[in-house]
């Protein structure tokens, strides 16, 4: 087979990846044809292309996904090849087939390889058959408890029982003990039905701590397959990668080699050609399981390029033209370390939902040998909900991982994008986090460190001071509501005055999953007190509702003050600002033990407001430690209440369908010993 000549490429994509492909193509003296949706007519990829053709629509299906239109343009503009980039039609077998039929080179693998790897069930079965490890689990199970118990025993704990139609954690139950299979099965069924209208469940191995590790491969049409080492892409939110690095750090050479061998073996088995990525899940013991293969150029390809010096797009084009790889595996050297941060237009404090706006000003770090920025930014660029919110990628190389982190952090600090909210500070906080520096990365890195990562970039101290001030102000306002004439009295300042105290106060502030104890000096909180405008909405018994604004910081929100049955104040705060919305709970931190912890935890109290949906025991029945006693449903989520010790149920105070309030006493577990004591007395 002789190599064909490629003189002109149509780039079936937009934004930074279109520009990236053009850069290499132009360097290879290949002309580039751009296509664009109505919305993209002023985009950089249009300006940089040699020719550009409109797709005459704003709808993705009618523009970047419209196979016929794109093939037509390629044909009429005289292109030899089409590069699909990533996303859109990059892994669409019909598109690859349509190119073939139109006699245009598709820069990517064959339609059959795309098809096989695109079908998760098929590719998993295929890999399993060829002894490539895949994640243990079973779909299409008979939906009865017996089957699930059997499969659970095979797979072993921990495992997940989850809704086939699932998402967002609903209808998903973690089982850490085989004894829990039944209750998890029942409760997942209930949640799946109420959330998705379909109670089909599947079972899957669960990994406590897992890394996302992937292998970059290149395969030519002559049976040569090489790998370009691995990447770690564990830092993800909303199932999308945020930070990627190459190589995957801290994995033994033995495991890496086994993983590379698996990757190459699979590519050879399916006659793969072009660039591809095999994604693995790796547990703490370095067991790796194939998740899927991406048959295209990855967003994060830059980090592999930085450590190998190989231009992946150039190799893609050469392979597509039919050239043999110009190097063998042993020619490929890994040098230093590279990390990439994806800059998204998004609201980090609002569950990373996309942000929109017009970019008014941007300033990027200087690109050099170590710093690479892929983007399609320009002034007045409108960032909307139409396309992926990723607007730039900053990749930095260093001799060591530590240096790469430093370089990236510095580049991020020198990158400023105004007009739309971005995750720039958030990604910087990620790579600066101690755990990241110590390479304690896992797919749950972001969710478990969320509060620290988010607060870090808005001066946590300031935020806590504001929250504490609001709390103090709310308490004071509450106190004054019916005591107008006493508000001047020093006894009614609600300031916890203590003689000769340093007066620092402890607060327990909870946000998302984090619970922090912070000690603040009233000198700091008092500064804010005078700046807060309070509007009391209502006071009902032990509850107090108010809205507030803090002008200097253009913050506003609402606060709800509640009193526990022990008369302690606890406030829920919602805070809105130009940088996002978030909610907090705050109360004074007391040194003493909490009431319900006092008597050895034997008395149980409702953890939150909700409805009782299951009571699995009756008065007097004996229970074992860890046994599920009851289930409370709140906010469509189920909260099981488990026995913290073995014993007998006493004073059962709940029944099914009962509405209960937080802190309400629900039952007590009396241990055998205690009963003996009572009998003696």
């Amino acid at each position: 087979m002789t190599a064909k000549t490629i003189n002109k490429i149509l780039i079936a994509n937009r934004s930074e990846i279109a520009l990236r492909i053009m850069k290499t193509a132009h360097a290879m003296n290949i002309q580039c044809v751009a296509i664009y949706s109505n919305n993209d007519s002023n985009s950089l990829h249009v300006k940089e292309a040699d020719e550009a053709y409109p797709l005459n629509s704003d709808l993705a299906a009618e523009s970047y996904l419209n196979i016929n239109k794109i093939i037509d343009i390629a044909r009429t503009s005289g292109c030899d090849a089409i590069h699909p980039g990533y996303g859109f039609l990059a892994e669409n077998a019909s598109f690859a087939k349509a190119c073939e039929e139109a006699n245009i080179i598709f820069i990517g693998p064959s339609p059959s390889a795309i098809e096989l790897m695109g079908d998760k069930a098929r590719s998993k079965a295929f890999a399993k058959e060829k002894q490539i490890p895949v994640i243990p689990g079973e779909e299409h199970l008979e939906q009865n408890i017996g089957t699930f118990k059997k499969v659970a025993e095979e797979i072993g704990v921990p495992l997940l029982i989850k809704a086939s139609a699932g998402g967002g954690g609903k209808g998903m139950k973690l089982v850490r003990d085989l004894k829990e299979v039944e209750s998890a099965f029942n409760s997942a069924k209930r949640e799946a039905l109420s959330s998705f209208g379909d109670d089909t469940l599947l079972i899957e191995k669960y990994f406590n701590v897992a890394r996302h590790v992937e292998v970059q491969v290149l395969a030519d049409q002559h049976g040569n397959v090489v790998h370009l080492f691995d990447r770690d892409c564990s830092l993800q939110r909303r199932h999308q990668k945020v930070i990627e690095e190459a190589p995957a750090y801290g994995i033994s050479e033995k495991t890496r080699q086994a993983m590379f061998d698996s990757a190459i073996k699979l590519c050879k088995l399916i006659n793969y050609k072009g660039a591809g990525t095999l994604e693995f899940l790796m547990d703490e013991k370095e067991n790796f399981y194939l998740m899927e293969m991406n048959t295209r150029l990855q967003v994060e390809h830059a980090v592999s390029e930085q450590i190998t010096g190989i231009d992946l797009v150039r190799e893609q084009i050469l392979i597509a033209a039919g050239h043999k790889l110009s190097f063998t595996q042993k020619d490929i050297k890994q040098t230093g370390h590279s990390i990439e941060a994806r800059i998204y237009a998004e609201q980090c404090r609002n569950d990373f939902l996309p942000a929109s706006g017009v970019i008014t000003l941007f300033k990027l770090a200087t690109e050099d040998e170590m710093t690479r920025i892929d983007h399609a930014l320009q002034a007045n660029l409108e960032v909307g909900s139409l396309y992926d919110p990723m607007i730039a990628k900053v990749a930095c190389w260093g001799e060591t991982r530590e240096l790469a982190i430093n370089n990236l952090s510095s580049a991020l600090k020198h990158t400023q994008i105004l007009g739309v909210e971005t995750n720039r500070e958030f990604v910087d906080a990620c790579i600066q986090h101690e755990s990241f520096k110590n390479n304690e990365v896992s797919t749950r890195f972001i969710s478990s460190h969320l509060a620290e990562l988010i607060l870090n970039n808005f001066d946590k101290q300031t935020l806590f001071e504001i929250i504490a001030s609001l709390f103090e102000k709310a308490k004071q306002q509450y106190l004054w509501m019916d005591q107008e004439n006493r508000k001047h009295s020093p006894w009614y300042q609600s300031d916890d005055f203590r003689v000769n105290d340093f007066q620092d106060k402890g607060y327990r502030i909870s946000c998302e999953n984090s619970d922090e104890i912070s000690t603040l000096s009233p000198i700091n909180t008092q500064n804010y007190l005078s700046q807060i405008d309070f509007t009391v909405i209502r006071k009902e018994g032990n509850q107090f509702f108010a809205s507030w604004t803090l002008k200097a910081d253009s913050l506003y929100g609402i606060i709800q003050l509640n009193f526990t049955k022990n008369k302690r104040a606890i406030a829920e705060l919602e805070l809105s600002s130009s940088f996002g919305d978030f909610s907090f709970t705050i109360q004074n931190h007391e040194t003493g033990k909490r009431f319900n912890e006092q008597k050895g935890d034997s008395r149980y109290f409702a953890p939150l407001n909700g409805r009782v949906i299951a009571v699995n025991i009756s008065e007097g029945s004996s229970v074992e430690q860890g046994q599920e006693i009851a289930v409370i449903e709140a906010m469509k989520m189920e909260h099981p209440i488990k026995a913290k010790s073995s014993g007998n149920i006493k004073d059962l105070n709940i029944e099914i369908n009962q509405q209960i309030t937080a802190d309400q006493f629900i039952f007590e577990i009396v241990s055998g010993n205690e009963q003996m004591d009572k009998a003696d007395a």
């Binding site: 103090e472 308490k475 004071q476 106190l479 004439n485 006493r486 001047h488 009295s489 020093p490 006894w491 009614y492 300042q493 609600s494 300031d495 916890d496 005055f497 203590r498 003689v499 000769n500 105290d501 340093f502 009193f563 049955k565 022990n566 008369k567 302690r568 104040a569 007391e590 040194t591 003493g592 033990k593 009431f595 006092q598 008597k599 050895g600 007395a681």
Partner: protein, 542 residues
């Protein structure tokens, strides 16, 4: 009213030096108090908490209303008094808001020597009761005590102001309609048993609260009967069988919530009559922190009392009485947090004119029902032939007379020296001020150490001279030094406060706050009805 114009410079070296000196003094005080607040030893506290008992200060926190101030009394009680360390004298006393009512809280610290009563513990308990009685404050006793400290029995048991007076006070206050609530959160043994027994209402905690006249060991010794503490006097026994207690609580917090309920359910006039001024007030025009730069390092250096008043009273306003007469005693009307107050402040040594001016002013305030605030910085009355001949003793007596007989609430603050008869004329402890506080720089003694040394040396020297003996200079110096050392030690504010000669050493920056809190407390009983004399007179012009 005229606004006091501050004349000090905050820029000069003396201000800076004084500020540094006093900041260090306050830091020392706060650090000592921090240590005191830690209470007993870590092992004692751990043992205490293992029994699901709250530490004493956590108990108080649960008892108080959310955000309530706690005007704690005599934190330094017992400080360096005994061989053992008795933080806060083993008992925490103070005034706080419980169910919206101001209450006196008296709480044993069981982690300090098992909460046993040392002599200073008894004194502190009695002082708290006195304050409660004078100001109609309902009392809440958080009892957790092993009773009297037996080795000190001769100092705690038999005398008038010993242990027995606690129950006497309980009975007399209850008779006057001042609520007495006891919460039994630990042992109440022997005499201690009468604290809940004498209370209007008593609450007991299951598992930890016990009340009995004789504990199991004593019972065994006396009658041979073997019995557990719980059977003898536990929560069940006293709630179900004996009726010594009225409320049964499962744990500390529940007991404290019950105490809050008891206070809430007392509607007697005496319980509710705190006066709260409705008018808005203005903060002083000068920052109170500047007091650090005003208070001198040495008591021999004087400082202008007006500068203190300007930083304590509302809007720095003082309506000065007889401003041009007897200038060494400043008298005037002012307000603190809206509470009217008549101020007497030393601004030099007391002369006859200043003394009679003070007596005149006190009569005036007494007629008008205005509480008095004494700001003491006094080395004494003037001495010498001229002054004795003009009768300074009888003029001073007028001031002492007025101070003693004034029926309005009196509050005293030692802001510097408090020596000799000056202490009496300016309402020292012997004149029953409702509250007496001191700054850490304050010194109190019969006279200055130097003067005392000189006087005693002179007497001795004269005695030796009669016998025709010589007193070598080095011996005389050593003799004098001995005296001054003793006086320095004993006049120290910590020494005084340890012995409860005052109700606490406070940070000068808290002066306005502490006095305002005290004035609110005093307003509960604005006009003490001491035996109304039949011979009332008009205000004498002195």
């Amino acid at each position: 009213m005229a606004v006091i114009e501050s004349r000090i410079s905050t820029k000069n070296e003396s201000f800076t030096k004084r500020r540094e000196f006093n900041s260090a003094l306050i830091k020392d005080l706060k650090e000592r108090v921090k240590k005191i607040k830690e209470g007993g030893s870590p092992s004692a506290k751990e043992k205490h908490q293992k029994r699901h008992k709250l530490l004493v200060r956590d108990r108080i926190r649960h008892l108080l209303d959310e955000g309530s101030p706690f005007l704690e009394l005599s934190q330094l009680a017992g400080f360096e008094m005994y061989e053992e360390d008795i933080p806060a004298g083993g008992i925490v006393c103070g005034i706080g808001k419980v169910s919206e009512q101001l209450c006196m809280i008296v709480a044993n610290d069981a982690c300090v020597k098992g909460g046993t009563y040392f002599p200073i513990t008894v004194k502190k308990h009695l002082r708290a009761q006195t304050i409660a009685e004078e100001n109609y404050l309902p009392c809440i006793y958080l009892v957790d005590s092993g009773g009297g400290h037996l080795p000190s029995q001769d100092e705690i048991f038999a005398d008038r102001n010993h242990f027995g007076h606690i129950f006497f006070n309980e009975a007399r206050m209850s008779a006057k309609g001042i609520s007495q609530i006891a919460v039994v959160m630990g042992s109440c043994t022997a005499g201690g048993a009468y604290i809940p027994a004498m209370a209007d209402e008593s609450i007991i905690v299951e598992g930890t609260g016990t009340i009995f006249l004789g504990g199991p060991p004593l019972v065994k010794a006396a009658t041979g009967e073997e019995v557990t503490a719980d059977e003898l006097g536990g929560a069940r026994v006293h709630s179900e069988i004996s009726g010594v207690c009225d409320y049964f609580a499962n744990d500390d917090v529940e007991a404290l919530m019950l105490a809050r309920e008891s206070i809430k359910n007392n509607y007697s006039e005496k319980n509710l009559n705190t006066y709260y001024p409705e008018e808005c007030y203005k903060e002083p025009r000068y920052p109170i922190e500047e007091l650090y730069g005003i208070i001198p390092e040495q008591l021999t250096q004087s400082f202008p009392a007006r500068e203190v008043i300007a930083r304590v009273v509302d809007d720095s306003e003082l309506h000065e009485f007889k401003a041009e007469f007897g200038k060494t005693l400043i008298c005037g009307f002012a307000k603190i947090h809206g509470y009217p107050v008549g101020i007497l402040a030393n601004d030099g040594i007391l002369f006859s004119e200043s003394a009679v001016k003070g007596a005149h002013f006190i009569q005036l305030c007494n007629k008008r029902g205005i509480p008095l605030l004494f700001l003491q910085n006094i080395s004494g009355f003037m001495v010498g032939k001229k002054y004795e001949n003009e009768g300074i003793a009888k003029h001073g007596a007028k001031l002492v007379n007025a101070v003693a007989c004034a029926r309005v609430p009196k509050i005293t603050l030692l802001m510097g020296g408090s020596f000799g008869a000056g202490n009496y004329g300016m309402c020292g402890r012997g004149y029953d001020p409702r509250f007496l506080f001191a700054w850490p720089n304050a010194r109190v003694s019969i006279m200055g150490g130097q003067q005392a040394a000189n006087v005693l040396a002179q007497v001795k020297k004269d005695g030796m001279a009669i016998k025709g003996e010589q007193w070598p200079e080095p011996e005389e110096s050593a003799f004098k030094k001995n005296i001054t050392d003793q006086f320095d030690k004993q006049s120290h504010s910590y020494y005084a406060s340890a012995r409860l000669w005052d109700d606490g050493v406070i940070d000068p920056c808290d002066t306005r706050k502490v006095i305002a809190l005290s004035l609110a407390i005093c307003s509960r009983n604005p006009d003490e009805q001491v035996q109304k004399s039949s011979d009332e007179f008009a205000v004498f012009r002195m």
